[in-house]
Amino acid sequence: MPGQTFHDPTAAVHADGVLADVRTMIAEVIGEDYVSEAEIDADTAFYADLEIESIEFIALGEALQVHYGDGIDFPAWIATMEVDEIIAMRVGQLVDHITASLSVPADASRPGGARG
């Protein structure tokens, strides 16, 4: 069920809305027909299930950025992941990231840089 995988209980209510937003934006990017058939939920894998491609992923990120504004930093988040992680990414993870980003001050949600 959507929402069950979320770690932050305070954001749970919020998360259902985020999932709906994400689903809408995925539909914009890859086409409504595909989304309605694919039954997007938190477990849906971007690559394995939706066969989303990198350009589509960027287009999705752009749509999210426009939708949520400065509260999230999609490119910076992706930059923290290995290629394998990106390939294995599920919709729920993205929703988690967005809800987490939106529920804490923007700076604190930034991933740490590679530099130590």
């Binding site: 027909d33 058939e37 066969e51 491609e53 350009i55 287009a59 752009e62």
Partner: protein
């Protein structure tokens, strides 16, 4: 002789002239009054000759206009005539143009198949002018020596060998000299080649009668025909010489039109314009022509030739001689001159020439008859008004014009004679400004043609309409003969062609359903699912135009398919399902093939596809990451997929490429004949075109945002507009980093790409000439399939030259892929098929989101080649393409011959051509060559002068440790002297801006006087030569140690330290701001190595931003911002934090240098103590050395030592950038001991960052913040090879003495590191001459062989031996002979695979081979067979019993230390397989017996 024996028929015509590539165009131009005069193309005549400076008219011309043949005329098809393309280079171009024109004339005459070839002659007028081939030969043979003589006179001190280098550099610009070239310049070959190539046995010669040549050639031809010695003759003139010497002749005579217009018979005519061209007529006796039924344009009734005799002068033609020629012609013809309707005058448009000719006309044809109305008069004209004066070929132009006028019944116009020469009125002729019909009411049409040559040689020919024109249709042109169909499969360079085994794994498994509509399809689907027996086979189920395909039909997919059929909407590919209610292609959409360019990763593998379709395929380089390997890879993959798709029934309607893919497109569209495609790749070596210093970054945004982000960044451009969500920018690394920071701020994805080709940016411009050169030599033919350009977003042009231009220029112009896709879609393309790996499908989808289109890749790295190919075919089947499903079900039957892979689209191919070069460009040496030659006139030579002056500072030797030997002292003394002198040279050079300084130019006041500071905004450029004369101490800053006494310094790679460059930048800034001292140098970046051997000239640029603020750079190498003030700030107290976990250094300063942990020599050895090493830094003491830059370099050595001693791998670290260097007080005196602390602030994969404090006299003297060292790929093996190569091997030595070396450098930079370690300068030259793929293998072989020899010598007790001390010379295939000391004469057999080199000492006749072992059962046996075969190929004709083998595991790597060493783990990729080495030592002489 009968009358018709004396009358000659013109049965064929061929020509090229300005504005015309053939007779048809020539005549249309004449009829329409086209002015074909143009300005001289700059590649034909250097514009300098048209400079306003008109000193004397000898070498500067007042007019730059003339008649030039169209560039299409220079496309020559050597294949048609059986000429080797290489021979084309050496031939005088006019010979080939004459050959082509003659062949066209023969074609026009119907082929002459009914005439005995041995009775056909060739007589061509051709002058002895300085034609392009001769000019090139003259430059090589005479001018080069003249140049050296002049230089020797000017620069008597320059050694002869330097001057010979100048000569070599000069002649090198002329290209390769081929032995066969010389014969190509013999002038009579213009005629002889025709006889030779067309197999004609009559007389064939050239003759020269200046401007009358063509007509006299025809006169001679007529004699041959009338005498019966020939049955047909090709006659005419050839002239392709726009040499400045010829222009000079007319310029000096004042005969070259100053107005730039040639106006024969016009008032105010002021001279000729020079032209070129070739015209050939095929002549036959009229009786024969009629008997054979040849088409007859017109007949030649008579000819007349006369010389002026004693009265001849150049300047004033003599009327008497001309009149005599005309009278003889009419006598010969038996025709009344009154009956002439058209005179094609010689018409030079010089006042004297026209005056004489008009007087001749008046005398021969009579005065104007007032009784005849103007329009009834005969017509006078000259084709020179349209094309200029083509000298010996001019007569043929006039003759062809007159013949066609008679033939067509048209009186053609003459240009620019609106106001006729008043003398025209005295003749019975008029001039026409537009064409008129030629009424033939009064008998046959007749015309007379004049040609009068220099020196008083006059000719006239009378032409008559042929009464009964029984022309026949001309025979088919030879040009339409199909060329031989060539297979496009690339050859396998590593061995004999062998198709790989068809893979048994692929099975076409897709459910294909057809129906009337979606509901019908759904019914078929449901029925199929309910009937288990139906599941076998993959024939389409049902019938109808609506199609569904499910690849690998799992239940889940079938459920999904059933659901989406209910909706009835298109479904294009997700979950391997395709459905189309109305096929895009079935509906009339077009299919386009997209060829990808370079990608960050290239892992295409189409071997199974090639096997399936029986195509021959070259092994693709494993793990190809280099541009070059990938260039070949994308090309090979594109061709194989293209062929496979066509075999399956997918024929593209359009082709487009992305970046380099456009070149693949050129080949798949067959703009270049398949047979020449490989040659192109072999020659080009795209990897060698890598542009240093520029970086690409892919951005997750469109071109608009990208442009905005980089708007103020210098030298950054948008190189690719891929789609709305991706663009690529290109520029210098630091500017790209800046852009990426901005993008991160805007939350836009940005990623630096791993390749640095600089393509599609101006950075590539310097390399473009090489590319253009290659394209100029490529034969081109019309495209079989339209190829779209991503530069113009439209199909490629038809004109071969425009194709060549676009194919080359697109590398410096942006890729407009988004617009291209849009344009193709607008034009009706509905299916896009990607032929290779890449993201083009995504780009299409993103660009055409929501539009009716489908895109699919025929290859995907994630699947096998056949799996993805089948998916693409299935997708296209759904769209209505008729796929040959049988071809997907079964591979090509075993044993089938290799198939020619070229698809035939039913379009007749036309002949490929080579571009002839008429240009004779001035020889210009490259800047680099000039720098290397470095000859200076005496007044400029400051280096030598300064070197002799006294060194002002005492030679400071106090820093040197006492080394006992006198030799060492002497060496030190020499070094310190040259050091002081060199330093002065540096100051003197830099203080005096060079003559090449750019505006605003400044001059320092003469020595001693106070110099004002440069005001803000001032820029100064100084040119500085970097070599070991100027920087002698760099001998102590060489990366590579070599044996003692090694003379070739370039083998040691002396490089300027970054700290020295920093010091130079500070000094340069200080000179712009006299009176101030440098307080701070910040934003320091080192961009690339600056080696001092061979010498290089660099530009030091300084720009004063404000008082005390100067931007300084060594252009292309390093830059920094320098802050200056009246005094340095007060020195702070030391503040470095204590070391964490301090411990003693494992190595003391002495061994640091003696054991080569540091490569530095004496003048750079300043680390005196290493007090403590900690987790976060190092403390030590350095001595202030006088060598420029050494002080800070020593601090850097201490820092570098921390990296070596502390970090596990990639510990070779070299300075890259420094945030800021602050100075307090005066520099410590030479010899001062300075306490130095290095504190590490960051360690990343690629870099180390540190802050440093240099403390002297109790206070901080220099503080350095943010010093970044770059870490280079280095493991213990490579490191040992760099440190102590004389005692170590890179190869592992097997139990049987086989040296095995694996390629562990994955990029070219690392490969270069080892190449420099192993190769001598001479070997590097050979190496650099190879294409990058060959370089890899060649290097592996050399390393293995050198290590095999070194190992053997060490076994025999030989001492240390550097790789460079051995030189290997080829001894047949797969073997070398070693030279150098004890190694002399030893023979080594060697072999390589893609990433492995093996070598073994052997005897004559011995050989070695290496091959991959297939892990599948039986793989080892097959490898043994193959290895033995390879030995046989290498000439070791051996029985199997003598072959010995050794298996090499997947990790063959280890470093062998002399005499023994640790076996270190390799870093070879995991997927590497076992290899089998096979060898035999059987001497050749034993072969027979052993059998």
């Amino acid at each position: 002789m009968t009358d018709s024996d004396a009358t000659i028929a013109v049965i064929g015509l061929g020509c090229i002239y300005p504005g015309a590539v053939d007779v048809g165009t020539f005549w249309r131009n004449i009829e329409s009054g086209i002015d074909a005069i143009t300005s001289a193309p700059t590649d034909r005549i250097d514009p300098r000759y048209f400079a306003a400076d008109t000193r004397n008219g000898v070498d500067r011309f007042a007019c730059n206009r003339g008649g030039f043949v169209p560039s299409e005329a220079l496309n020559f098809d050597p294949g048609r005539f059986g000429i080797m393309p290489v021979a084309v280079d050496g031939a005088e171009p006019d010979q080939l143009l004459a050959l082509g024109t003659a062949a066209a004339a023969v074609d026009d005459a119907g082929g002459l198949d009914d005439v005995a070839r041995d009775r056909v002659g060739v007589i061509l007028g051709r002058g002895g002018y300085l034609t392009p081939g001769l000019v090139r030969l003259d430059q090589r043979v005479r001018t080069a020596d003249q140049l050296v003589d002049t230089l020797r006179d000017l620069l008597p001190d320059v050694a002869d060998d330097r001057l010979l280098e100048v000569k070599d550099a000069f002649t090198a610009q002329l290209g390769e000299l081929r032995p066969e070239s010389a014969i190509g310049l013999v002038p009579n070959l213009a005629a002889s080649r025709i006889a030779n190539r067309l197999d004609l046995g009559g007389p064939a010669y050239t003759m020269d009668a200046a401007c009358a040549s063509s007509l006299i050639a025809v006169d001679a031809a007529i004699s041959e025909l009338r005498s019966g010695r020939c049955d047909a003759v090709l006659a005419g003139g050839v002239h392709h010489c726009h040499d400045v010497t010829l222009w000079s002749v007319f310029s000096q005579l004042g005969a070259l039109s100053r107005s730039g217009q040639i106006r024969p018979f016009a008032r105010g005519a002021d001279g000729i314009l020079v032209a070129e061209g070739t015209g050939v007529l095929v002549l036959e006796r009229l009786a024969d022509a009629e008997r054979l039924g040849h088409r007859i344009y017109a007949t030649i009734a008579g000819t007349g030739v006369a010389s002026d005799g004693r009265d001849a002068t150049l300047m004033s033609p003599r009327v008497d001689g001309q009149v005599l020629a005309l009278e003889r012609a009419y006598r010969d013809a038996g025709i009344d001159p009154d009956s002439i309707g058209l005179i094609e005058g010689h018409g030079t448009a010089t006042p004297a020439g026209d005056r004489a000719e008009l007087e001749t006309l008046r005398r021969v044809y009579g005065k104007s008859d007032d009784g005849v109305a103007t329009e009834g008069r005969a017509v006078l004209g000259s084709v020179k008004s349209m094309i200029g004066h083509a000298m010996p070929a001019a007569g043929a132009a006039g003759l062809i014009k007159a013949i066609l006028a008679v033939h067509h019944g048209v009186l053609p116009p003459t240009l620019h004679a609106d106001e006729p020469n008043p003398d025209v009125a005295g003749t019975r002729f008029r001039l026409l400004d537009r064409a008129e019909p030629w009424a033939d009411g009064s008998g046959r049409r007749r015309a007379g043609v004049n040609a009068f040559g220099f020196g008083g040689i006059n000719a006239h020919i009378v032409i008559e309409q042929h009464g009964s024109d029984r022309s026949r249709a001309s025979a088919p042109s030879i040009a339409s003969t199909p060329t031989v169909v060539q297979p496009i499969a690339p050859p396998d360079p590593t061995g004999p062609p062998a198709p790989s085994e068809p893979s048994g794994r692929f099975r076409f498994d897709a459910l294909l359903v057809q129906g009337r509509d979606a509901a019908d399809v759904a019914e078929h689907l449901a029925a199929w699912r309910s009937d288990p027996h139906a599941r076998a086979g993959s024939d389409p189920i049902g019938d109808g135009p609506v199609r569904l395909a499910v690849v690998d039909p799992t239940e889940r997919r079938l459920d999904l398919a059933a659901r989406l059929l209910e909706k009835g909407r298109p479904w294009r590919g997700r979950n391997d399902i395709w459905f189309e209610p109305s096929g895009l292609i079935a509906d009339g959409g077009r299919v386009a093939f997209l060829l990808p360019g370079v990608e960050p990763t290239f892992d295409a593998d189409v071997t199974d596809v090639a096997a399936w379709f029986g195509l021959n395929v070259a092994t693709l380089p494993e793990g190809a990451t280099e541009l070059e390997a990938q260039g070949r890879g994308i090309f090979a993959v594109g061709r194989i997929l293209h062929t496979a798709l066509v075999e399956l029934g997918v024929v593209p309607d359009d082709i487009a490429g992305h970046s380099l893919g456009e070149w693949t497109g050129v080949f798949t569209a067959e703009l270049v004949p398949a047979a020449d495609a490989d040659r192109f790749l072999d020659d080009l070596e795209p990897g060698s075109l890598e542009v240093p210093g520029v970086v690409f970054a892919a951005l997750g945004c469109g071109v608009d945002v990208a442009s905005e982000v980089i708007a103020d960044l210098d030298d950054v451009v948008v190189s690719h507009d891929n789609c709305p969500h991706q663009s690529v920018i290109c520029g210098p690394a630091d500017a790209i980093s800046q852009a990426m920071v901005r993008l991160a701020g805007r939350k836009i994805f940005a990623q630096e790409l791993p390749f640095r080709s600089g393509f599609h940016s101006p950075a590539f411009e310097p390399y473009l000439d090489i590319v253009r050169h290659h394209w100029d030599r490529m034969p081109l033919q019309p495209a079989r399939i339209p190829l779209w350009s991503a530069t113009t977003c439209s199909p490629y042009p038809a004109d071969p030259d425009a194709v060549r231009r676009l194919a080359a220029d697109h590398l410096v112009l942006p890729v407009r892929f988004r617009e291209l896709v849009r344009a193709m879609h607008d034009d009706g393309v509905r299916a896009f098929v990607q032929l290779g790996v890449g993201s083009l499908v995504s780009f299409v989808d993103d660009t055409l989101r929501g539009e009716e289109q489908m895109s699919v890749s025929a290859h995907a790295a994630a699947r096998s080649g056949m799996d993805q190919l089948a998916r693409a075919a299935t997708a296209l089947w759904v769209q209505g393409v008729d796929i040959d499903l049988d071809r997907l079900r079964a591979p090509l039957a075993a044993g089938s011959p290799l198939r020619p892979a070229r698809p035939d689209h039913g379009r007749a191919p036309s002949a490929p051509t080579v571009r002839l070069t008429l240009a004779t460009p001035s020889i210009r040496l490259s800047t680099r060559t000039v720098g290397e030659l470095d000859l200076r006139l005496g007044s400029d030579t400051d280096a030598a002068a300064t070197r002799t002056t006294e060194a002002p500072e005492p030679a400071a030797a106090g820093h040197r440790r006492g080394v006992g030997s006198a030799l060492q002292d002497e060496h030190d003394l020499l070094l310190s002297e040259s050091l002081a002198a060199g330093r002065q040279v540096l100051d003197a050079r830099a203080a005096r801006p060079s003559r090449r300084a750019t505006a605003p130019e400044r001059q320092d006041a003469p020595g001693g006087a106070p110099v004002p500071a440069d005001p803000p905004g001032t820029s100064t450029r100084e040119v500085l030569r970097v070599d070991l004369d100027t920087f002698p101490w760099l001998i102590d800053h060489c990366f590579y140690r070599q044996a003692d006494g090694w003379t070739d310094l370039s083998d040691r790679f002396p490089v300027l330290p970054m700290t020295t460059m920093v010091e130079m930048l500070g000094d340069a800034a200080r000179r712009r701001q006299p009176g101030l001292v440098v307080t701070r140098i910040e934003n320091i970046r080192a961009m690339r190595w600056l080696p001092a051997s061979p010498a290089v000239e660099v530009t030091v640029t300084t720009r004063v931003v404000a008082s005390g603020h100067v931007e300084a750079s060594i252009d292309g190498y390093a830059r920094a911002t320098v802050r200056l003030a009246a005094a340095t700030p007060p020195a702070p107290r030391p503040a470095a934090r204590p070391l964490t976990a301090p411990r003693p250094s494992p190595v003391a300063p002495g061994p640091l240098y003696e054991d080569h942990w540091m490569f530095h020599g004496p003048t750079f050895q300043g680390v005196r103590t290493i007090d403590a090493l900690g987790d976060d830094g190092v403390d030590g003491v350095i001595e202030s050395l006088p060598t420029p830059g050494a002080f800070l370099d020593n601090a850097g050595q201490l820092y570098g030592w921390w990296v070596i001693a502390t970090v596990d791998q990639d510990f070779l670290a070299l300075p890259q950038s420094i945030d800021a260097i602050e100075r307090f007080g005066a520099p410590p005196p030479i010899g001062a001991l300075v306490t130095t602390t290095v504190r590490i602030t960051e360690v990343t994969d690629r870099t180390v960052r540190a802050d440093l404090e240099l403390v002297w006299d109790g206070v901080v003297n220099v503080r350095i913040a943010g010093w970044v060292d770059r870490r280079f790929d280095s493991d213990e093996d490579l490191w040992l090879m760099l440190r102590q190569p004389e005692d170590h091997l890179l190869a592992a030595i097997g139990p049987s003495g086989v040296a095995v070396v694996a390629e562990r450098w994955r990029d070219s930079a690392s490969r270069e590191l080892m190449a420099r370690r192993y190769l001598t300068a001479a070997e590097r030259t050979t190496y650099e001459g190879l294409n990058p793929r060959a370089q890899r293998l060649w290097l592996l072989g050399r390393i293995a062989a050198k290590d095999a020899v070194r190992h053997a010598l060490w076994d025999e007790g030989h001492g240390p031996l550097f790789p460079a001390e051995l030189t290997l010379r080829d001894d047949g295939p797969g073997a070398v002979i070693a030279h150098g000391g004890a190694a002399d004469g030893r023979r080594v057999a060697l072999a390589t695979t893609e990433w492995l080199g093996v070598a073994r000492l052997t005897t004559a006749g011995g050989a070695i081979s290496v091959t991959t072992v297939d892990p599948a059962p039986g793989g080892l046996d097959r490898a043994r067979d193959r290895a033995t075969d390879l030995l046989t190929i290498r000439g070791a004709d051996v029985p199997a019993t003598t072959v010995r083998t050794e298996l090499i595991g997947p990790e063959p790597h280890s470093t062998t230390t002399r005499p023994s060493g640790a076996d270190l783990r390799p870093n070879a990729p995991d997927d590497r397989k076992d290899h089998l080495v096979a060898w035999t030592d059987l001497p050749r002489s034993d072969r027979g017996r052993a059998r």
